[in-house]
């Protein structure tokens, strides 16, 4: 009989290899679906790989897609560190997108517009995240459920805007008017879509790591998440830490929306996010809630998303495979995490 036994120590290589093992297991499991769809597994994964990382243009496309997931991944990682269960990054992203679109449509010098878009977008995301945090602190409402429900509320608010006040009277499409050209985030490499927001996302990750690992607020967030009783005993105002965490987490998710408006779409439409908020949960878990790990995790998921579309065109395997990969990766990573604390031991029948 097999049983789990607590580990006394975890080998260092194991911690690093864990996400890779989880991803490998995921790809093996999902190759079954590729086979069911009647395509060659090696061929399908090959197309995915070359379309997402095969040449310099593909790499920039993958990075553009990774940027919002770096932000939502950071948002989730920081929230989960404090055990603030923010499942609302999707709604916070949408709020950031809408708010920054409002600002971006006002004519003003470009650098000012970009700065204001970032500030207002982050504030909008923070404000949305504050709702579930306040409800939890004041009314003991489960933050998972309230942040989830809020996603739908924000989504319908966005739809009301683009089908109402913002509706394009010329074409009749439910999209917002575009932001000013001067407010568009500058493209860094001619001929690609690699915009300034991607660099900001890449810088945000080490900044968040510094905040969590080296600052007082980061310390409070970690202690609150690990042991709220001890935090309280140590004189930490747990409720205030939760609210600060929510503001920070929501602001990061809001920035994901700002980047999509300022650097990719230049306006708001109903499908501005293909679920980047939920992908943020997968990213954060693959990164083991470490802000530095968020970057490779987001790039991996972005590569899967970019590659899945090309794979679908080439082999006919539905592109929804990328969603299955995300879900499977999350579950595989959770199981993998179990083995940092436990190992499997074969024990006698008498046990």
């Amino acid at each position: 009989m097999l049983r789990l036994e607590a580990r006394t120590s975890t080998p260092a290589w194991f911690n690093l290899a864990l996400p890779l093992i989880a991803i490998a297991v995921t790809l093996v499991l999902c190759s079954g679906l590729i086979a069911v769809a009647g395509a060659g597994v090696v061929e399908a994964y090959g197309v995915m790989l070359s379309a997402s990382l095969g040449d310099s243009y593909a790499i920039t496309e993958t990075l553009v897609r990774a940027a919002p997931m770096i932000f939502t991944g950071l948002a989730v990682a920081i929230a989960f560190r404090a055990k603030f269960w923010n499942i609302g990054a999707e709604g916070q992203l949408l709020a950031g997108a809408v708010a920054s679109c409002f600002v971006g449509a006002i004519p003003m010098p470009g650098y000012l517009a970009m700065l204001l878009m970032a500030l207002v977008g982050a504030a909008a995301g923070a404000l949305v995240a504050l709702v579930p945090a306040t409800l939890r602190v004041k009314f003991k409402v489960d933050d998972v459920v309230s942040s989830l429900l809020l996603n739908s509320v924000i989504y319908y608010a966005l739809m009301a805007l683009i089908e109402g006040r913002w509706k394009d009277t010329f074409s009749g499409y439910p999209i917002s008017p575009p932001i000013e050209d001067s407010a568009n985030l500058p493209v860094l490499i001619e001929g690609t879509r690699l915009h300034l927001g991607v660099v900001v996302a890449l810088i945000a990750a080490p900044l968040c790591w510094f905040l969590i690992a080296r600052t007082t607020l980061g310390f409070r967030i970690r202690v609150t998440g690990e042991n709220p009783e001890a935090a309280r005993y140590g004189g930490i105002n747990v409720q205030r830490v939760l609210l600060s965490t929510a503001l920070l987490s929501g602001a990061l998710a809001g920035l994901a929306g700002v980047g999509e408006v300022g650097g990719v779409h230049f306006q708001v439409m109903s499908d501005i996010s293909p679920g980047y908020g939920y992908s943020g949960i997968v990213v954060a878990m693959l990164a083991r809630l470490n802000p530095l790990g968020v970057v490779p995790a987001a790039i991996f998921l972005a590569a899967v998303m970019t590659g899945a579309e090309a794979m679908s065109r080439a082999t006919g395997v539905p592109a929804f495979l990328s969603d299955v990969i995300q879900g499977t990766a999350l579950l595989a990573m959770l199981v993998a995490l179990l083995f940092t604390a436990y190992r499997i031991r074969r024990v006698g029948a008498q046990a």
């Binding site: 009314f139 997968v282 990328s322 299955v324 879900g327």
Partner: protein, 314 residues
């Protein structure tokens, strides 16, 4: 205002409430059994979606609606077992596993649907369930045609509520479920298998979520579309809190929510002023959040909810 009042007491309105409440009642009862045993199942949204897809596909390919229902229930139970494997057997975080199950099930549902039906501009539909009037009862004025001229699955939901209460409060198994949800250590000492009981409760819950999904694609919409579940699973989780983990209250909460939802549909249709219809669409979600704020203060969740149980750790 009186116009709104008149509409409420129309047969069509009452029937709409019952139809909206049915999948919610199944899903809420399913989530309730799971949580009563100590396991939060955030996989509900995905489980409903995958079951809805599987049931629709089975019915569409075989031509038998009841086979579709059976498949939906089995898929729901299977995904419940998956969630239990992660949370009960392995003791992993219930929050994150639930989201993982939802992502996995949603991805799989869309993937398989596209694989089987391909990309079509008009989604394929089936001849769904037809209302079956119950003799005599259907002749009661207003109530009769609204409640007793419904789909068989609606009657099943009506029966499921007292049955759930009976199972939970009056059977040894129900006692075990409540024990492992309140005090797993005591249950373990009393010789109740915590792991087995939790597995059974989560699987039963998944089966009920499967029924909810089956209702959506085989009675309510007769087709599988990408937004077919559209947050009903999340709402069910809130309704369990609102219903204080009790079958009767949970079903009442589902009915109340359905009333608000039916009302917003009516208000939308009546084109009230220039309020955008999205304002009505978000109404049920805001209602649920506000209701939770009122109910959560003195809500008494099962004490062992979210807590994994490992026998050797004392």
């Amino acid at each position: 205002m009186s116009a709104v009042f008149e509409q409420i007491f129309q047969v069509g309105f009452l029937a709409a409430i019952i139809r909206i409440a049915t999948p919610l009642a199944f899903a809420t009862l399913g989530e309730m059994f799971s949580e009563r045993a100590g396991v939060l199942n955030l996989g509900i949204e995905g489980i409903m979606l995958l079951s809805a897809m599987a049931g629709f596909t089975a019915a569409s390919l075989s031509g038998s609606l009841w086979l579709g229902v059976l498949v939906a229930v089995l898929v729901g139970a299977l995904m419940g077992a998956l969630h239990a494997l992660f949370t009960v057997a392995l003791g992993l975080s219930q929050h994150v596993c639930g989201i993982g199950v939802t992502l996995f099930c949603s991805g799989l549902a869309y993937f398989l649907y596209r694989l089987i039906f391909g990309q079509q501009s008009v989604p394929p539909s089936i001849d769904g369930f037809k209302p079956v009037p119950i003799p005599l009862l259907a002749d009661i004025p207003v109530l009769g045609p609204a409640v007793f001229n419904q789909f068989t699955l609606v009657y099943l939901a009506i029966i499921a509520i007292p049955l759930a209460a009976l199972v939970l409060y009056r059977t040894p198994w129900g006692l075990s479920v409540r024990m492992v949800g309140e005090n797993p250590r005591a249950a373990d000492s009393a010789g109740v298998s915590v792991v087995a009981t939790r597995f059974q409760a989560v699987i039963l819950g998944g089966a009920l979520m499967g029924l909810a999904g089956a209702f959506l694609t085989m009675a309510q919409f007769n087709a599988f579309t990408f937004g077919v579940v559209s947050g009903r699973g999340w709402v069910a989780i809130a309704l369990v809190v609102f219903g204080r983990w009790d079958p009767w209250r949970s079903a009442g909460a589902a009915l109340l929510f359905a009333f608000v939802d039916a009302l917003q549909l009516r208000m939308q249709a009546s084109g009230l002023g220039h309020i955008p219809y999205e304002a009505f669409l978000m109404l049920p979600f805001i209602f649920t959040i506000v209701a939770m704020a009122f109910m959560s203060r003195n809500a008494v969740a099962p004490s062992a909810l979210l807590k994994p149980f490992r026998r050797e750790e004392r």
